[in-house]
């Protein structure tokens, strides 16, 4: 499964002013980490509403880049330690992939 849809991600960045590329990378990495943590916390607390909310936000974020792997994890059972670790690894890898796509567009 692809981490992200590279063409979609590139088109997202290219459609925006070049000075937005870095802030968008920063925001993406911050949002993904933040909502991943919230999801895991909600799962740990068995707070269904918080889980629904976190899942929704993460899917919204992932939609921007076609981050299929994270979406898959979001809908999976994240109660085990192993699943949580894999999920966080996937999130970090997705962030790296998004930044890799965006990096050439960063003004020199």
């Amino acid at each position: 499964m692809e981490l992200i849809d590279q063409e979609l991600t590139l088109s997202q960045f290219e459609a925006l002013p070049s000075n937005v590329v870095v802030p968008l990378c920063e925001a993406t990495s911050a949002d993904l980490r933040d909502w991943s943590t919230r999801l895991l916390d909600a799962v740990a607390a068995q707070d269904d509403e918080a889980i629904r909310r976190a899942r929704h936000s993460l899917k919204g974020l992932c939609g921007n880049f076609g981050a299929a792997a994270v979406m898959h994890h979001v809908d999976s059972d994240l109660s085990s330690t192993d699943a949580r670790a894999r999920f966080l690894d996937c999130v970090e890898a997705t962030i790296a992939a998004v930044v890799a796509i965006a990096a050439p567009l960063v003004p020199q």
Binding site: A15, L16, E26, N64, F65, A100, I101, A103
Partner: protein, 637 residues
């Protein structure tokens, strides 16, 4: 006859004369006259006889002289003929078929190892003089060809009709039979003499074979020469075969080398591609560092890491390009290109590097330089970048000039002239080879030496030319490419030219309510690209406050799921505001796509919706719909 009267034996006047009386004197006179005439006749005859004898004697003398002369001539000619035969290495034989006589010239006898003058009665004697293995062959030939011919009592024309003794020699008579045989060169010796025997029938007046005239030619030298030539030819053929085999082996080796090279290129390209992706991540991550929190030393380290990363990225891009070129996959993507923009952007891009080295960087475009051309702008820019970066890299003082002009042929010539160290003429061809670095500065200022090689490949694909000349100081790198001028495109395939303006020409003022920073940036970026004024808030409550604050918004983009106050609630409350504020157009931003999922927003009073992820064209159309701005349908995106 006894008893028969005399008158019955004589004519009447004789009888009359006989019975007349005879005058003796007259008889005597008559007899004397007769005697005198006879004497005269005898004398004349003797005279004639004497004359004839003299004539005959003279003739005989003459004939004898002639005969002697002819004999001498014949002997001389025979001698000459024999000499000629000896010198020419051929002899003759004449076989009288009727009398079964065989006549050999001395040269033939010499050729077959007989003593000159030896008596040879039949052709079988000749056969014995040949090599054993050729005897049977000659006999077969004679029986099969010559003697079979003799069995026919007249010759047969080639058309199958009997020859009825035509006045000239018939075709059959002219036919020549030939065979080549061998005999010992000398008795008891190992040498071999090769003979060519050519036989031709001589026919009589009825066109019947009368004689066989045979020439025997010593072709030992010719055969030897032929054998040597054949051997030489065989050696040549062998050599050719060897060369061909070698060539095949070389081709195979070349093929294998090409395959290996292709595999290497593919591997290199694949690895470079795979390395480039995480490298981009590393470089991207570096850009996220907040330098203000770093110490001076850390900033220097960071700058070094960035610089190394950039170099590595350039190298990887070059390797991928080169591999693509080697695989023949370096293709152009022509499209409407603003040539002036490409050139000036290229110069602007490298200006900071020139500034760092205190170099001037000027650009001079000839007035007839076309603005819009059909070209691959990316590859064109790659050429400009490469030449400018090289020029700046190898110039320590002075400056760099980028100039263009249109050639009489209509091609575009672009020159990058520097005041750098220059390039010796004898080393210029090295410039365009892969991984070529001339080391003119003592040490290379960076790079893998791929740039110009790639430029060369790009120019080849473009069908142009690339070169380097001397400049007044330094070098002049140039390329010439065919360009196709095109009219100014009506709309450029770039969303940046689109803008949303109402009938009054004013740009829309848009309020965005979105809790996720990522989405806020995307939406804000899209709106700014559409030339909108943007105000961003993070939840429904802030949106409600902003609308109620008196700020004049033309539109609200409202996310559905937000903390504090969600989109539907904020929408409901805006619709409940007094006056025109309640009519404020609201577009729902949502990742929900099913109608039932959108229902809360639409029920709360949203005018339209845009699905996430946001696509600028979708946003443009939704805003146009809601604000009643005509849509530019043919805008490319």
């Amino acid at each position: 006859m006894p008893g028969t009267p005399l008158s019955s034996f004589a004519m009447p006047h004789e009888v009359a004369a006989a019975i007349e009386p005879v005058d003796p004197a007259a008889q005597i006179a008559l007899l004397e006259r007769r005697l005198a005439r006879a004497e005269a006749a005898r004398a004349a005859a003797e005279h004639l006889l004497e004359q004839k004898s003299r004539i005959l004697a003279a003739a005989n003398t003459e004939l004898t002289a002639r005969q002697d002369k002819l004999s001498t001539s014949l002997e001389r000619r025979t001698r000459q003929l024999l000499d000629a035969q000896r010198v020419a290495g051929f002899g003759t034989m004449l076989w009288d078929i009727k009398h079964q006589q065989l006549e050999l010239s001395p040269q033939v006898q010499v050729m077959i190892g007989l003593e000159p003058g030896s008596a040879v009665k039949t052709y079988r004697s000749l056969v014995r003089g040949l090599l054993r293995e050729d005897r049977r062959r000659l006999l077969d030939w004679m029986h099969g060809e010559l003697l079979a011919r003799l069995e026919r009592d007249h010759c047969i024309k080639y058309d199958g009709q009997p020859c009825q003794g035509s006045p000239g020699p018939c075709e059959e008579a002219l036919r020549e039979y030939r065979i080549e045989v061998r005999c010992p060169a000398e008795k008891g010796g190992e040498g071999v003499r090769s003979l060519r025997i050519m036989a031709q029938f001589q026919v009589d007046s009825q066109c019947r074979p009368a004689m066989i005239f045979v020439t025997v030619q010593d072709i030992t030298r010719q055969v030897r020469a032929d054998n040597e030539a054949a051997a030489l030819r065989a050696r040549e053929l062998q050599r050719l075969a060897d060369l061909e085999r070698l060539n095949k082996e070389l081709l195979l080796a070349r093929e294998q080398a090409d395959l290996a090279n292709d595999a290497k290129s593919r591997f290199l390209a694949m690895m470079s591609h795979d390395i480039r992706t995480p490298l981009n991540g590393v470089i991207g991550m570096l850009s996220l560092f907040d330098e203000s929190t770093l110490t001076a030393g850390q900033r220097r380290t960071l700058a070094l890491v960035r610089s190394s990363g950039d170099q590595l990225r350039v190298l990887l891009n070059d390797i991928i390009d080169l591999a693509r070129a080697e695989a023949g996959k370096l293709a152009l993507t022509p499209g409407p290109t603003n040539l002036v923009d490409v050139l000036t952007d290229g110069a602007d891009f490298w200006r900071h590097l020139a500034d760092d080295k205190s170099l001037s960087l000027d650009i001079v475009l000839a007035p007839d330089t076309p603005t819009w051309v059909e070209a691959d702008s990316v590859r064109l820019r790659q050429l400009i970048d490469n030449m400018l970066s090289n020029a700046i890299k190898y110039t320590s003082e002075g400056g760099v000039l980028l100039k263009t002009r249109v050639l009489p042929s209509g091609w575009l010539r672009t020159e990058v002239i520097d005041t750098g160290i220059g390039i010796p003429a004898h080393r210029r061809t090295e410039l365009f080879s892969e991984f070529s670095q001339l080391n003119l500065l003592g040490s290379e200022p960076g790079g893998a030496g791929l740039g110009l090689a790639i430029c060369q490949r790009i120019i080849e694909v473009m069908g142009g030319r690339l070169g380097v000349d001397d400049a007044a100081r330094g070098s002049c790198f140039w390329f010439e490419i065919p360009v196709v001028r095109i009219p100014v495109p009506k709309r450029v395939a770039n969303p940046v030219v689109r803008s949303l303006r109402g009938a009054d020409g004013r740009v829309p003022r848009v309020l965005v309510a979105e809790d996720l920073a990522t989405n806020r940036i995307v939406v804000e970026g899209c709106l700014r690209k559409l030339r909108c004024e943007v105000h961003v808030v993070e939840d429904g409550q802030q949106a409600l406050d902003a609308v109620g604050s008196g700020e004049a918004y033309d539109l609200v983009l409202m996310d559905m799921a937000m903390p504090v106050m969600d989109g539907p609630e904020a929408t409901r409350r805006i619709r409940a505001l007094p006056g025109e504020l309640a009519q404020l157009p609201i577009i729902a931003l949502t990742a929900f796509t099913r109608p039932e999922e959108l229902e809360p927003m639409m029920a709360a009073g949203a005018n339209d919706s845009v699905a996430k992820p946001i696509v600028i064209d979708d946003l443009y159309r939704a805003i146009s719909r809601v604000l009643g701005i005509p849509v530019e349908d043919d805008v490319a995106h």
